[in-house]
């Protein structure tokens, strides 16, 4: 039982990481019908900004955190203007390829600027964790889980109960109609990119103390987050969260009770099963292919 609880905690913790990154995927997909393959690199870039501020420049942790997130807002804006905007009237394929290109550019840009050394980023808390009975709760995982819960609530409130959120929803559902109603579609899409970059950045800042800061930290998480998005139902916020958590728990228990080397295999096996039997995901609606 102790073992199960410990595994469950870790599974939820790692799943929350996937969920945070998956959220960024979903928001951009809803707004633009495009998968942003640079979502993982947002996490990586934010973590490096954090390392520069908190470690190299020795600024206070909270200030570095704010600077990193503000930096990500700028990255999101530039990304929107440089990658999405010029291609917005094309089909989804050139945009997707442009996001792949942007992700390669970001990874190698950081490599060129900061060098290849993996970096250590201290966590939020002095205490690394607490022992609760038989279960060890890593403080950084606790923080990640808490932030995920808060974000779920925030997203629900933001998209369902604010005018800006409703405008964003309208844009994602039907751009032409939204524009007829006087909503500036390109502004809404720009806001989505900025928000997604900040979310991706937040995920990066939260996992960096656990997985270290390295050039490839984003891509490893993003692959799982992408799978989580498909399992949850592409385009569904709740689905992304559930998908992420499910993936984290499945791979942790799969590793513990079946096979450690095939840990990643379980995640992708679930993905394949979903693609075959329920391609629209847990929460997705069956829709005809978008033209």
């Amino acid at each position: 039982m102790d073992l199960v609880l410990q595994l469950l905690f870790t599974g939820i913790g790692i799943g929350a990481v996937y969920a945070l990154v998956a959220l960024g995927f979903v928001l951009i997909f809803r707004a633009t019908n495009v998968v942003n393959f640079a979502q993982g690199e947002f996490s990586m870039v934010a973590a490096y900004i954090m390392v520069v501020c908190a470690v190299d420049l020795a600024l206070p942790y909270w200030l570095s955190f704010i600077i990193a997130l503000a930096g990500m807002a700028v990255v999101g804006l530039v990304f929107n203007l440089g990658v999405y905007y010029p291609l917005r009237h094309r089909t989804y394929l050139p945009v997707i390829i442009a996001t792949i290109g942007a992700s390669i550019l970001m990874a190698n840009g950081v490599l060129a600027l900061y060098g290849p050394q993996p970096q250590v980023l201290p966590g939020w808390f002095e205490t690394p964790g607490i022992q609760l009975g038989p279960v060890y709760l890593d403080s950084q995982y606790l923080l990640i889980i808490a932030v995920t819960v808060v974000l779920v609530i925030f997203n629900y409130w933001f998209f369902e109960h604010t005018m800006l959120g409703k405008k964003l929803q309208a844009t994602s559902q039907d751009k032409e109609m939204a524009s007829l109603l006087g909503i500036s579609v390109s502004t809404m899409i720009m806001i989505t990119f900025i928000y997604s970059a900040v979310l991706g950045g937040l995920a990066g800042l939260l996992v960096a103390p656990l997985l270290f800061v390295s050039i490839q930290m984003g891509s490893t998480i993003a692959l799982k987050a992408f799978a989580a998005t498909i399992i949850g139902g592409f385009g569904d916020v709740a689905g992304a969260i559930i998908g992420g958590l499910a993936l984290g728990i499945i791979e942790t228990f799969g590793a513990a009770y079946i096979s450690v080397p095939y840990k990643d295999g379980f995640a992708f096996l679930v993905l394949v099963l979903f693609l075959v039997f329920r391609p629209q995901g847990i929460f997705g609606e069956r829709v005809a292919e978008k033209a």
């Binding site: 870790t10 060098g115 993996p118 250590v120 490839q216 490893t220 942790t252 450690v260 080397p261």
Partner: protein, 382 residues
């Protein structure tokens, strides 16, 4: 000064022609002896790649300062292998296409050496490498020469130290599932079998795992009183080490060389205090190792590790073999390498055997609050 169109054209033409003119002038004065090197310049191991090329360059510079080899200067040509198998096959094919390259430095990763081995065989020129999978020198490929002790030795040294010196008999064996980790884990379990130790758990893991909780819990439940490990990447090692301590596992731990490399020490910090590692390069172990450590520190302002010591030795041994052979003929270089005995390198004393293995023992070092302290050298003569 105004720039005319004619002046501009002449300038561009001169600029374009210059390298060729200089190049041909150099060729006429006898040219250089070229050594090709595959190293990770980009990708997850780019950090290690900097150490590797740093070690090789240090040797090249020292040799050139002392007058070069056969009256010629050495020239190192580096291609990026991205630490991947396709990467090294491509990098090696680019280098192999240059007919004036006489010898090569391959990878420290066994799986990459496996990937390039067929092309090495086809090319028929000597390739120095640092991968430690014992099978690599048993492929019947006469062109592969190893500059680190292979894992049949590291496994035996880990087992020997754990059982005889630390007195522990119930082992947890943890290894990556790549070529290096699988071979290492097998070598360790075999060596433990010969010492009558029991294996409480033999666990593989896939590289770039984000979480090791299931592994740590399995080790905890197995009741093992000592851990032996083969980690390929330092970030995996760092995550595992931290989770191991968090979940309260404090048994003695003897690891493969990655446990004492510079990056791992930085990432894992206190989680690795008190652990032991087998190290092919230990600065205090021999005068050759000390001299290399001093030179590397002076050149790059950081302490070297085994990523840089083996390429340093490889370039030196290759240069020595070319000198002894009096020729750059591949077959003669091969014979000259195999004939090298008692060469004092940075990694230890090289005595090449017919398979191409240069070293036959390992050092044991201890992580004393972040400082790597030389403990003992264990050498085998078979």
């Amino acid at each position: 000064m105004t720039l005319t169109r004619r002046g501009f054209t002449a300038g561009v033409a001169a600029g374009l022609a210059a390298p060729y003119i200089i190049g041909s002038a150099r060729a006429q004065s006898g040219g250089t002896i070229k050594i090709g090197m595959c190293a990770p310049i980009t990708g997850p191991a780019a950090e290690a790649g900097k150490y590797a090329t740093g070690g090789a360059k240090l040797a090249v510079e020292a040799i050139n300062k002392a007058g070069g080899v056969l009256g010629k200067q050495l020239e190192l040509i580096i291609e990026d292998d991205q630490i991947t198998n396709p990467g090294i096959v491509l990098a090696f094919s680019k280098l192999a296409a240059q007919p004036d390259i006489v010898g090569f430095l391959g990878s420290i990763r066994s799986t990459q050496v496996h990937a390039m081995a067929p092309d090495v065989m086809k090319l028929g020129k000597p390739v120095m490498f640092g991968g430690t999978d014992p099978n690599l020198t048993k492929l019947g490929n006469p062109w592969l020469f190893r500059f680190r002790p292979n894992d049949s030795y590291s496994g035996r040294v880990i087992a020997d130290y754990g059982v005889k010196t630390l007195g522990k008999k119930k082992w947890a064996v943890l290894h990556s599932t790549d070529a290096f980790g699988t071979a290492g884990g097998k070598a360790l379990t075999e060596a433990l079998g010969k010492l009558d130790a029991t294996i409480a758990i033999d666990q593989g893991y896939a590289n770039q795992s984000q979480d090791f909780t299931p592994v740590v819990l399995a080790i905890k439940q197995s009741g093992a009183d000592i851990l032996g490990s083969y980690f390929t990447f330092e970030n995996d090692l760092g995550i595992f080490a931290r989770q191991l301590r968090q979940l309260g596992v404090n048994i003695p731990w003897v690891g493969s060389p990655s446990i004492v490399n510079v990056t791992a020490l930085k990432l894992a910090g206190p989680a690795l205090y008190g652990t032991y590692g087998v190290a092919d390069y230990a600065e205090e172990s021999t005068p050759g190792a000390k001299a290399f450590g001093k030179a590397y520190r002076e050149a790059y302002k950081v302490a070297p590790d085994n990523q840089s010591s083996w390429p340093f030795d490889a370039v030196n041994v290759l240069a020595l073999a070319i000198k002894n052979a009096g020729s750059t003929d591949p077959q003669k270089i091969r014979e000259a390498i195999v004939a090298i005995k008692k060469y004092p390198g940075a990694e230890g004393e090289y005595n090449f055997d017919k398979n191409g293995d240069g070293l036959h023992g390992y050092n044991i070092v201890k992580n004393d609050k972040g400082n790597i302290v030389f403990d003992k050298h264990i050498e085998f003569d078979d």
